[in-house]
């Protein structure tokens, strides 16, 4: 048995509307299959967010709960402290937005975000971004091919100094601001608009995310599991690029 790894699903009761809690399940299982002992914690408003974990996953949700989550995560800065200690973080959609410098509250007014990512999210006056999203990360993440997911949001996210995009949008809108890009990356923190959940759709992206903390990752020997991932991945990529 290798060392113990702590995985935190951040406020899934508030930011769990779009199936993103699956990301924590995928992270935990892919660690366990590699021999790590995994402690998966669901952090809520009562328990608070621990600062001593290795992986943090935060997902998408509705406007009201999103604002509540932002207020809560500002108290005591648990996520910034964990990142400073070397943890990795994946934030999706509403979770990505509140971890920027500002986002739009339920009253349509801008609110302060946590400021992990150098980005600002504004309200898009056009139609909601809904549909398949394909993002090409280029060479930024070794071994990670084109990413597939599903977006569903009203935001436009402007990247500022210090935060680079996760990749270039091939299909869909992503950040929907300026050059066609999705998400943001700074240090070990990654943001994106891709649901799916994104790590279930893109196992190589999951393994890259794991490598940010545990270093080199071994291949997984569960052939049936990896085949199921391959079938889904290629079906989605081929289907969407064909349409």
């Amino acid at each position: 048995m290798r060392e113990k790894i702590k995985v935190v699903s951040v406020l899934p009761n508030l930011l769990g509307t779009y199936g993103d809690s699956g990301n924590a399940v995928v992270v935990s299982k892919r660690l366990a299959l590699r021999g790590f002992k995994v402690d998966l914690v669901r952090a809520d408003l009562k328990s608070g967010v621990p600062t001593d974990a290795d992986f943090y996953l935060i997902g998408g949700g509705e406007d009201g709960p999103q604002a509540r989550a932002a207020e809560f995560l500002a108290i005591g800065s648990p996520l910034e402290r964990a990142l400073d200690k070397g943890a990795a973080l994946l934030a999706v959609c509403a979770g990505f937005q509140i971890l920027g410098r500002s986002f739009i509250g339920p009253d349509m007014e801008p609110r302060d975000g946590i400021g992990v990512f150098g980005c600002r999210t504004h309200r898009f006056e056009g139609p909601r971004s809904v549909g398949e999203l394909i993002v090409d990360p280029g060479d930024a993440m070794p071994g990670v091919p084109m990413l597939t997911g599903y977006e569903n949001h009203q935001g436009i996210t402007e990247l500022l100094d210090g935060t680079r995009p996760l990749g270039v949008v091939r299909t869909g809108n992503g950040n929907n601001f300026g050059p066609r890009v999705d998400g943001g990356v700074i240090g070990r923190a990654i943001g994106t608009y891709m649901h799916g959940p994104v790590l279930a759709r893109n196992p190589k992206f999951c393994d890259y995310f794991l490598s940010l903390v545990i270093g080199q990752v071994d291949p997984i020997r569960d052939v049936a599991l990896e085949n199921s991932h391959d079938r889904l991945y290629f079906e989605r990529i081929n289907q969407v690029l064909k349409d």
Binding site: L14, G19, L45, E62, G64, G131, Y150, P197, D222, S228
Partner: protein, 426 residues
């Protein structure tokens, strides 16, 4: 519109409907309804004059609760209803052309209404009662997030104080909407999926759930129930009504409690309403067992995480289960919700991942440690099952596809004619 033109529009829609049904390509309500609204835009308001309406809405159990309510009221009223599940403006427009009777005081409409369409359709009809079942995530690419829907319902009730609401007091989002109504009958119909209910719709805080109810620190809390369910007994203001439903599952006793709430408002005898409801054994092809090549297949429909909680209850002892998932427009195009379903409960059964999005389901089942086989063709999967008693669980279009094939209809012809019809009507 002149009377003659209206009659032509109605006759045209009815002709299309019988054509659709005789070709066996559908229930014949949505497409003719679309034609009807196109030819006769005021049809819903015109045909519903002097027809008091009971509307049933929510995320899950609309079709079943509508069928139960219609049956419960049929002893006392001439009931017009959209029993096929066509619950948007098109389906309701067409249902009105089949209006039963014109006796003042005896006619009633019982319609299931899509949650997003409720304010619009409710304003066009002579709405008297609205029954609210539940609100949870479903088809997020089309329907708004649940809190937005609850707010729209709430302002609809504020503007229409003459409406009596029969509401599930166990669902905070339903209570948030219903408390704007001037008159509410609270039914404890249960809540089986909490994930959309934790965040308080009033203050954004986290709601505390306990065995005795729920409460937020801001003071928003569960109202006292007028109607409660315990096992097979529904208690209406303290009077116990024994339910002996033919439909399976505890959730259907809760649905019948909502129906009894509507009966109570309309002063219908509850014992005879209960007897009538017990005669229903299938609803739009759901719940019944069909024989397929030596297998007895229970046909179940479940389209979102909340619905799945009920399905696990109904799958029961069947040792083989075929799950078919599609992601067409009517299903919601994003099947991410599969990760909110506790599929772990299927461990130990023979499971097939089926439907157009079988691969999404297969990955999910692997992570739930449910051993399974993948067969995209549902009928083939059913034939390959080892057990005699099998449960088939489909979401909306995968369920309809199998049903059409079992009725000997050509699935690709159905979708071709649907597409053609939709294109012609813009």
């Amino acid at each position: 519109m002149r009377k003659a033109e209206a009659r032509v529009a109605i006759a045209g829609a009815q002709l299309v409907s019988s054509l659709v049904r005789s070709l066996g390509i559908g229930e014949g309500a949505a497409l003719p309804g679309r034609l009807l609204i196109r030819l006769y835009p005021g049809v819903i308001s015109e045909l519903s004059k002097s027809l008091p309406a009971v509307l049933i809405s929510g995320t899950n159990a609309k079709t079943t609760t509508t069928a139960l309510t219609k049956e419960a009221l049929s002893g006392s009223f001439n009931v017009t209803s959209n029993t096929t599940g066509a619950n948007m403006d098109t389906g309701i427009a067409f249902s009105l052309t089949t209006r039963k009777g014109t006796t003042a005081g005896k006619d009633l409409a019982v319609f299931e209404v899509d949650e997003a369409y409720l304010p619009d359709i409710g304003s066009k009809l002579e709405t008297k009662i609205v029954a609210l079942l539940n609100l949870s995530r479903d088809q997020l690419d089309r329907v708004s997030e649940t809190r937005m829907t609850a707010s729209k319902w709430s302002s609809f009730f504020q503007k229409n104080p003459h409406i009596t609401v029969v509401a599930n007091c166990d669902d905070p989002l339903v209570v948030f909407a219903a408390q704007s109504a001037s008159e509410v009958l609270w039914v404890s119909a249960g809540l089986n999926f909490f994930q959309d209910a934790y965040s308080c719709p009033v203050c954004g805080g986290e709601i505390d759930f306990s065995d005795s109810g729920w409460r937020c620190t801001c003071g928003f809390s569960r109202p006292l129930a007028d109607i409660e369910v315990s096992g097979n007994t529904v208690s209406v203001f303290g009077k116990g009504i024994e339910m002996n439903l033919s439909l399976p599952g505890q959730c259907n006793v809760a649905n019948s409690a909502i129906a009894l709430g509507v009966c109570q408002v309309l002063e219908v005898d509850l014992d005879s309403a209960a007897r009538r409801m017990s005669s229903i054994s299938e609803v739009a092809g759901r719940y019944k067992r069909v024989s397929i090549d030596g297998h007895e297949v229970r046909m179940l429909l479940s389209k979102n995480p909340a619905g799945w909680v009920e399905v696990f209850d109904m799958v029961g002892d069947d040792s083989s289960v075929v799950v078919a998932i599609n992601a067409q427009t009517a299903d919601g195009k994003d099947p991410s919700w599969l990760w909110d379903v506790p599929f772990e409960l299927l461990r130990g059964k023979e499971v097939f991942a089926s439907g157009e999005r079988a691969y999404d389901l297969s990955v999910r089942l692997h992570y739930a440690e449910v051993s399974h086989r993948v067969e995209k063709d549902s009928l083939e999967a059913l034939r390959a099952c080892g057990a005699k008693d099998v449960s088939f669980v489909g979401n909306y279009t995968s369920f309809q596809q199998l049903r059409n094939r079992l009725q000997g209809n050509n699935g690709s012809l159905v979708s071709f004619i649907r597409r053609l019809g939709n294109r012609v009507l813009g």
